[in-house]
């Protein structure tokens, strides 16, 4: 029963492919974050702004994105939108879906940070007559940032793990590569184990790095 014992030679032979997959995973995470973090802030502000129709639409969209499985959103974009002539590569589709889904989660974090800022900051800004744009950029955002940064860091780590779902739409990230390797040889033990370890190494180091940043900031 060779399938149940670890084969080092085979493990080494699949490692390069998995590392290539990891680089795709990291790229998808980075690109997805570039969508999620700014748009999350935009949703948060629009929701709060009380613009008649827009604020309602944004509020609904954020709730909808948070309340439905990422896999369903991903399938919808990948399988349904092309029927209407909207076609992206699998990787672009995956990045877009991950970014949009995570932007809704980011919006919640921004909101939590915003609620942590005392009403007196708004009142002082208002009574001093500061223009609303300046209130955001000079007063509110600088105070939100230290609160929200660790939450966003954790969100990016969560996104990194969520990229595994992109394997279902043929994005050749780590999990897809591991499955491919297993499929060709009927040995899944080594590739999937290595995939798991790669994920763990990256997310654990990132979490450690985050904690260190927080500690430095707290001092």
């Amino acid at each position: 029963m060779s399938g149940f014992s670890w084969d080092w030679a085979f493990a080494w032979s699949v490692l390069p492919a998995l590392l290539e997959g990891l680089s795709v995973t990291v790229q998808a995470t980075a690109a997805g974050s570039l969508i999620a973090l700014p748009f999350g802030l935009l949703w948060c502000i629009l929701r709060l702004a009380d613009i008649p129709v827009l604020s309602f639409v944004v509020r609904f969209m954020v709730e909808f994105l948070r309340g439905t499985p990422f896999l369903v959103q991903l399938y919808f974009i990948f399988y349904v939108l092309p029927k209407y002539g909207i076609i992206f590569s699998p990787l672009a589709t995956g990045i877009f879906a991950l970014g949009v889904y995570s932007s809704a989660r980011a919006a919640e974090f921004y909101r939590a940070a915003l609620e942590a800022i005392p009403a007196g900051q708004w009142e002082a800004s208002l009574t001093l007559g500061l223009p609303i744009g300046k209130v955001w950029t000079r007063i509110i955002l600088p105070q939100m940032w230290p609160i929200v940064a660790p939450m966003l860091g954790n969100l990016v780590i969560a996104m990194f793990k969520d990229t595994a779902v992109l394997s279902t739409i043929t994005v050749l990230e780590v999990v897809a590569r591991a499955k491919d390797a297993g499929f060709q040889t009927f040995r899944y033990l080594e590739p999937l184990t290595i995939a798991g370890i790669l994920f763990w190494i990256v997310s654990y180091s990132a979490a450690r790095f985050l904690r260190r940043l927080e500690d430095r900031h707290a001092r």
Binding site: G120, A124, T127, L128, R138, Q143
Partner: protein
């Protein structure tokens, strides 16, 4: 202020208040908690919108504007202009914690008055000197005592050269030993400027000392209005007498 009324849910906080404050007048607002003193101040700068009535500051209505000779409701933009001559100092200071004392004072001068950085700096430095905080200009609010923070907040409001200053229980959040330094600044301000000042305060003796006029609030109404020699030293209403007795017994 004409016929100003405000209720939160069903609780009537202000019940048809009429109040005129002359330019330069120093007015102390006294009375028990929940009698509407703070709400009046918040309304005078547009933080709270009245349910009814009109508020006029230096010739401009806060929530209304004249259109074709008729007074029509107006929005936030009009309020922004109307509150421009008014400054407010809060019980909780509300300084910007991520900025130094100097930056706190400079910020509105740069952003609102659009003065150059150098001119704004000059004015901010002078204001901090006025409130006795020259050596502390580089410190953040977290590194200052409550009394020092409140003095920075006063300087910050003064930077815009308001015509009316509102002080909402500005010594209530302070340690007793720090109250004096803030009252001293207020006293100097009251003597040295031609700004109108409205102070909500529980420091009755201080009110008697600097105010031209004292308003006694109770249950959303002004029940007594006159110079301190009358309202504080020789009150007519039983409710005022009772309130002053209770305050003096502390």
């Amino acid at each position: 202020m004409r016929d100003v009324r405000k209720a939160f849910d069903t609780r009537v906080v202000l019940d048809g208040i009429d109040l005129d404050v002359k330019a330069g007048e120093k007015v102390a607002l006294i009375g028990p908690s929940g009698s509407g003193k703070t709400t009046i101040l918040r309304m005078a700068i547009g933080l709270t919108r009245p349910d009814r009535g009109t508020i006029e500051i230096a010739g401009r209505y806060l929530w209304h504007e004249m259109r074709n000779g008729r007074l029509e409701p107006a929005g936030e933009r009009n309020a922004r202009l109307a509150r421009r001559p008014v400054g407010m100092v809060f019980q909780q200071f509300n300084l910007f914690p991520h900025m130094t004392a100097l930056e706190n004072v400079r910020e509105p001068i740069v952003q609102v008055l659009k003065l150059s950085r150098a001119e704004a700096d000059e004015r901010a430095v002078e204001l901090l000197r006025q409130v006795g905080l020259s050596e502390h200009r580089g410190k953040r609010p977290g590194q200052l005592s409550g009394g020092q923070q409140q003095r920075v907040a006063i300087a910050r409001s003064l930077g815009l050269r308001p015509k009316v200053m509102l002080f909402d229980e500005v010594t209530s959040a302070l340690d007793p030993e720090l109250v004096g330094e803030v009252l001293l600044v207020l006293r100097e301000l009251a003597h040295a400027t031609d700004m109108a000042m409205l102070l909500v305060t529980h420091e009755i003796n201080f009110a008697a000392d600097i105010a031209d006029r004292v308003l006694m609030f109770d249950a959303g109404k002004i029940i007594e209005d006159g110079p301190p020699s009358q309202v504080i030293r020789d009150p007519q209403m039983p409710r005022t007498k009772q309130f002053l007795r209770a305050v003096n017994e502390r």
